[in-house]
Amino acid sequence: MDQEQLTTIEDVQRAMFIQRYIADRSLATSVFLALKRRKPLLLEGEPGVGKTEIAKVLAAILDTKLIRLQCYEGIDVSTAVYEWNYTRQMLHIRLMEVAGINRQDELKEIFGPDFLIQRPLLQAIDPSNTQAPVLLIDELDRSDEEFEAYLLELLSDFQITIPEIGTIQAKEPPIVIITSNRTREIHDALRRRCLYYWIDFPTLEKEYSIVLARMPGVPEQLARQVCAFVRELRSADLYKAPGIAETLDWISSLLALDQMELVEGAVRDTLGALLKYQDDVLKVGGNEMYRILKKVQGVS
């Protein structure tokens, strides 16, 4: 689909639904505005609520390439933007030496585009892109302040300067999705340049429809009980509350065990798909599990 075809918020919401992403109207509005205003969209929220998924879905909707930059501590220009292919450069110099080509031409040649390795950010603003790609800058909080400062410049002008070549400017500025898990505060300067959206845990109904959309063929009874169970867990005092990703994981574990509804034994065996800390497993494993299970079984 072309970007121009998404003329209303409903269009965006519907397109996301077709890609099996159930979005609130407010989320669809943010995405819509990010597309129209060509502004980066900064998504925050608990792990596993579908932040990264939005970028994938957007790329699928617009039928364009998804360029993903996974951030980590120490990420720098040579891994995020570009690097020279040193080995090739040196080999080439040798060859030219043998062929007796003069120095000036030599220099021009080995610092040309042929010897440049494009990393995600440079790929995203490559002028030869005929269609704006989706650039996903994932878990920005893992990178360090230096990299964030570099991004500021990139996100405002969509251009990159390589000293040996010159300035490269995007013809079609990419659609930028930035996600953060808040293990470090993103600087205000970067926030200012973005549209901001906080993705919350879904409501019971929404999670139920997500489960049905993502896992066609799941027994309705099971889906309903699982959603109710997870919802109860989220209100319990856990170190790490399960996200939607965990819900889906759990359901596939239960399906692998041929379960049609929640029963005690299977829940106990598969709790590891839902809870990732031993403290939490201990806490839920006992009476708490019975209580929730009883409540959930009563509902359906």
Binding site: R25, L33, K39, W84, R182, R184, R191
Partner: protein, 451 residues
């Protein structure tokens, strides 16, 4: 609307608007600007650029749809999850409640009306929001001078039950010699001495141990070849690598997280310790500060204010459990759940300041201390009571926490703070020993020897 939004920027530079202009179909822009100003008043950072942006953005949505209008405003103007409740409240207030009020007084002339409108924010609401967001408000400007500050203190002491009798009497005390002052317990400081000590603290230099980052920088000698420069330099030799250049690992100071007890039993120290936290966090980059009594409050933003008195005043307005009971376990529980992931990354050093008088659940304290120790590089506990030579960690809280502490230090006078500073500077990459045997040993030693 694009042309209008240009003007919208100007409105910010040169308010007030003429009523006539407002009538000419620019009502919405005017309202938006005004809403922006109200947000600004409660501490949400909405600059003219954001407002301009918003005005352009509104082009794309159907502003008669209330929900879309709301989301558009929200995702354009907000930048932090914490601000959402305040934003929602202000949104409701401005676009719904006030609307009704305005309808009655719509004919009143512009400038005066606007001024009056701003004042009409319900004071209780404004105060609550200001507390929530720690925005500077009108009240901050009061009580500026030292004189009035001391007056306020005296009044405060008359009302409060705790007798802090030295501080109440600013006259009749002389400036002590610096040496004396450094050894003197904060508890017995006079008002003048507090002032003097503040000055001394401001001169202290704080250094935090460095941690290796994953980033590298060019260096004369190092372990990583700097390929880019090597190729450049050796071009002249025809790709014969004769000159090598290197990169080395870059070091950065570790983050510091301070969790300070401000309950009743600490009241002699807590105000002074806030000053200490202020100096330390203004000298260093990565400092997060929390205080707790019965509940945990983050005071990082407040304490970053340049002026120490402003900062402390701000903190005291934010915190609601001054001089109450202590529930260290609960406070740490909340910290571990809500904040640990956000502030303990990158090898943080945690500094707990408390006397260990705990009225909470000891088993909870134990679990949380264990978890906290596991998630930080070094856990330091400062106890003001440790200054007295015959102090033993006998209270249940202190006894429970002791095995999980890497360094147990006093914090009762300036000298003890200086030695803390020295310790912080020497923290390196090596992990402190945290075996069960080491824990038992520490407990045994603390219950025997004197300090």
């Amino acid at each position: 609307m694009n042309a209008q939004s240009q003007e919208n920027g100007d409105y910010f530079a040169s308010q007030p608007l003429q009523p006539l202009e407002i009538e000419r179909g620019e009502r919405l822009l005017y309202r938006l600007t005004e809403f922006g100003r109200i947000l600004w008043e409660v501490g949400i950072d909405v600059g003219p650029r954001k407002m301009l942006d918003l005005a352009e953005t509104l082009d794309y949505v159907d502003i008669t749809n209330k929900e879309d209008f709301y989301t558009t405003l929200k995702c354009s103007l907000l930048a932090k999850h914490e601000q959402e409740p305040v934003f929602d409240q202000m949104y409701l207030y401005y676009w719904y409640m006030r609307d009704r009020q305005d309808k009655k007084a719509d004919d009143a002339p512009g400038a005066a009306k606007r001024e009056e409108r701003r004042m009409r924010l319900p004071p209780s609401e404004l105060k609550r929001l200001a507390e929530h967001l720690n925005a500077p408000s009108e009240q901050h400007k009061a009580f500026r001078s030292e004189m009035r500050e001391s007056e306020r203190r005296r009044r405060f002491e008359e009302h409060s039950q705790e007798d802090d009798d030295d501080a109440a009497d600013p006259q009749g005390t002389a400036y002590s010699a610096i040496e004396m002052l450094r050894k003197k317990d904060f508890e017995s400081f006079t008002w003048d001495e507090v002032q003097e000590a503040k000055k001394l603290m401001a001169e202290m230099r704080w250094d935090l141990g460095l941690r290796p980052t994953r980033r590298k920088r060019p260096a004369r000698r190092g372990s990583y070849p700097d390929m880019r420069r090597i190729v450049r330099r050796n071009l002249k030799y025809g790709a014969e690598l004769l000159e090598l250049t290197w990169r080395e690992i870059k070091y950065k100071p570790r983050p510091l997280v301070i969790i300070c007890d401000i309950s009743g039993s600490m009241s002699m120290y807590s105000r002074f310790l806030l000053h200490f936290i202020h100096t330390i966090s203004n000298g260093l980059l990565n400092v997060e500060a929390f205080v707790f009594g019965t509940r945990l409050t983050r005071i990082t933003r407040q304490i970053k204010r340049r002026d120490v008195d402003d900062a402390v005043r701000d903190v005291s307005k934010t915190v609601q459990d001054w001089s109450g009971g202590t529930r260290i376990g609960d406070a740490l529980h909340l910290f571990n759940r809500k904040w640990a992931r956000r502030v303990l990354g990158r090898g943080a050093i945690v500094l707990i300041i408390s006397d260990g008088w705990d009225r909470g659940d000891a088993s909870m304290l134990e679990v949380e201390m264990d978890r906290l120790q596991h998630s930080c590089h070094r856990l330091i506990w400062l106890n003001p009571l440790l200054g007295s030579p015959d102090y033993r960690p006998l209270t249940i809280g202190m006894k429970t926490a002791l095995p999980y502490i890497d360094d147990f230090l006093p914090a009762h006078n300036l000298d003890s703070l200086i030695s803390l500073g020295n310790l912080l500077g020497t923290i390196d990459d090596s992990r402190p020993v945290r075996s069960a045997a080491a824990r038992r040993k520490a407990v045994a030693e603390w219950s025997k020897t004197s300090v």
